[in-house]
Symmetry: none
Subunit: 213 residues, 4 copies
DNA sequence: CATGAATGAGCATTCATTCAT
DNA sequence: CATGAATGAATGCTCATTCAT
């Protein structure tokens, strides 16, 4: 399959920003990876920073949309949390480069862009927070430090992008299910709730991920 | 309290590498933060990269030593795991800059130094792995994906450096205890084992952290 | 009134070269001002430098032709000088952009084009020199440094392009007449000759400028 | 005589900005002319534009100071005008590069610096305007368009920097005296006033120019 | 006639580093 | 111990220009 120049630029940027960091990636690295001259790069991007911003915006928007879709049909907090975790893990395992960029390079943005990206990220994290609160209020979660647990949970899931390999022994569905179970345990859900919730999550998430992104 | 120039350089580097990344930090930034001229910096360091390496080496060695000390007197896997988690969390909460550098900037090292640092890190992580294996073999942990759980655990604990604030409502001891409990839950330990293990961990860790670092 | 693309290019170049200088004007500035893409520009010009040369050539040729026309019917040196000055001032006031380009951007030309343009300029200035010499020989001008005076005169007249505004209080005819008088004074002409000469000059110059350029 | 690097940078900039214009001069040209690497240039300047601004500021300040000194001891408008003209001509003949930069490159400055430089230039030109007004009010000058004459006068004098050569037949004192006479004629001063005024001007100006600048 | 895509060369500026003083 | 002076290499980005469509 032949890629357009614009696509090659985007992919080169995602890969290089993820591997070497924004400041560690030069415009000439980008050009070489995109098989373009440094000058030609500028047909497909504004500045290097705007390219970074565009990558982050797109990635976060996709995650946010996915999170809404995936929780839409679910009523119980354990199911919802499992679905959020599974989607997050799926995304981080399938697109480790994009997600590493989102997770690590916010500091490279200057004020204006940073504000926008942080707002998107906060919006996304709010979905997790609401789910946990609802579950605690309903008595299906048990946790004396829910704020901490939520952060711990997120960081745990982000980590997937750092180590998961599709060539490893663990399938994506198994991985997502395992993380969902870990999450429910961390939230203090009853073991009996886990299996159902994890199953429900697996179903909706794989639906979202069948859709081409 | 007055700092020596060497100390000012070290601290400036830790802070700036943590905040802006290795490649995002210039020698001039370092000099300014250390209240030295760029040329004078070179009395206290080799190259910028060697400075990074030294910071990482020291930080990892300290963690490794601490891990040995903290587990030395403990026999049961739950206690050991709780101690490792608590020490890790303590360290990441007290020295977020150092640990962020260790966790994020390995990619900035060139081959030689990287090998050394990665070896240290692997040595440290091996302690976690052994503890989990022993616990599983002894039937006090229950987990069908222990390798994954170990990685999830580590990432979760690393995350503390990214968000913990000493000005927040949560004390360090409470935080460490909470993480220890989360970890034991993730490992599938019995709830009844948790409380004891966490208490034991708290005792030994605070001993280590009373010692000046 | 609608302009052709070629005209838009020419006008954009004249304006921008005058305002920002040849080196200060980019091909993209030109394209934007001409409402064309940078590539399309090249249907209407050779290189950027050739465009500059063409503007200068045309402008100088027009001035040269005008100078011949304007002095053709006049016999007395004061009348001729007055006519030359008036035409020069008229031209610089009506076409400040063109004349600024001619006066300031010769240095931007490379050797070949520069030679051509300088030759045209010299040919034009020769008309002033001859007029002054004739007047001195005839005893109607009095000046002990005529070469200097001629240069001073020219620079003074060139200056008009830098400050004259049609929105100011001074009409073009009054301006030209005033400069003609200043010139005759500088040449040491008798005050009694001035009035006549200036009147004669005004007549011929306005004739030339009624013709569309 | 050996020059410091800082002096070489300054001189190179003055010469090159004058010859090829600000935009026509590259940082590499500057470095080569100053016998320094492009990087070393930046020990002695801020940006290229700030270097331009510094040159202009210094040049204008010197001219302004000189104008005050030179007119301080003179009472009569013709003498004052002659002195201003003679100083201006002296300066433009002796420092053609500096003055060409001041006269031609204001447009290359960005808003902030431009404002500052234009203010200085206006302050200087105000001295000419006041002198002419006083002379007209006193009836020693006769001119029905004094504003125009003042501008014509200035442009005429600026022109000196464009053509005067110390290797030509005309001495600096003679040149200045001639311009002073031209100026008085343009202002409509009586011929009888000219000789005295020019002599007085010559005296004060050469005093100022004996002082090292 | 018009332009999107492309580029080699060049831009001003900053980089980490060295060294004489 | 400290630094001003110096630099080769690299930075992100723009330049004028060409050409296939």
């Amino acid at each position: 399959m032949v890629l357009t120049s614009a696509q090659r630029v985007r992919r080169a940027a995602v890969k290089l920003f993820a591997d070497k960091g924004f400041h560690g990636t030069g415009i000439r690295d980008l050009a070489q990876a995109a098989k373009l001259s440094p000058a030609s790069l500028y047909h497909y991007m504004g500045t290097k920073e705007e390219l970074l911003g565009a990558i982050m915006r797109e990635s976060l928007n996709r995650l946010l949309t996915g999170a809404h879709e995936v929780t839409a049909g679910l009523a119980e907090p354990p199911e919802k949390l499992a679905a959020l975790v599974a989607l997050h893990v799926f995304t981080h395992a399938k697109q480790p480069a994009e997600t590493k960029v989102v997770d690590n390079e916010v500091r490279a943005l200057s004020a204006g862009l940073r504000r926008e990206i942080v707002r998107l990220r906060d919006e996304y994290e709010q979905l997790w927070a609401e789910t946990m609160e609802t579950g605690l209020a309903a008595g299906v979660f048990h946790d004396d430090e829910p704020a901490v647990t939520r952060l711990a949970l997120l960081e745990m899931c982000n980590g997937v992008a750092r180590w998961y390999s599709p060539r490893g022994p663990l399938g994506l569905d198994r991985l997502a299910a395992h993380y969902a179970k870990l999450a429910l345990r961390m939230a203090g859900a009853a073991e009996s709730d886990c299996a159902n919730a994890v199953r429900a999550a697996a179903r909706v998430v794989s639906t979202v991920w069948r859709t081409p992104l």
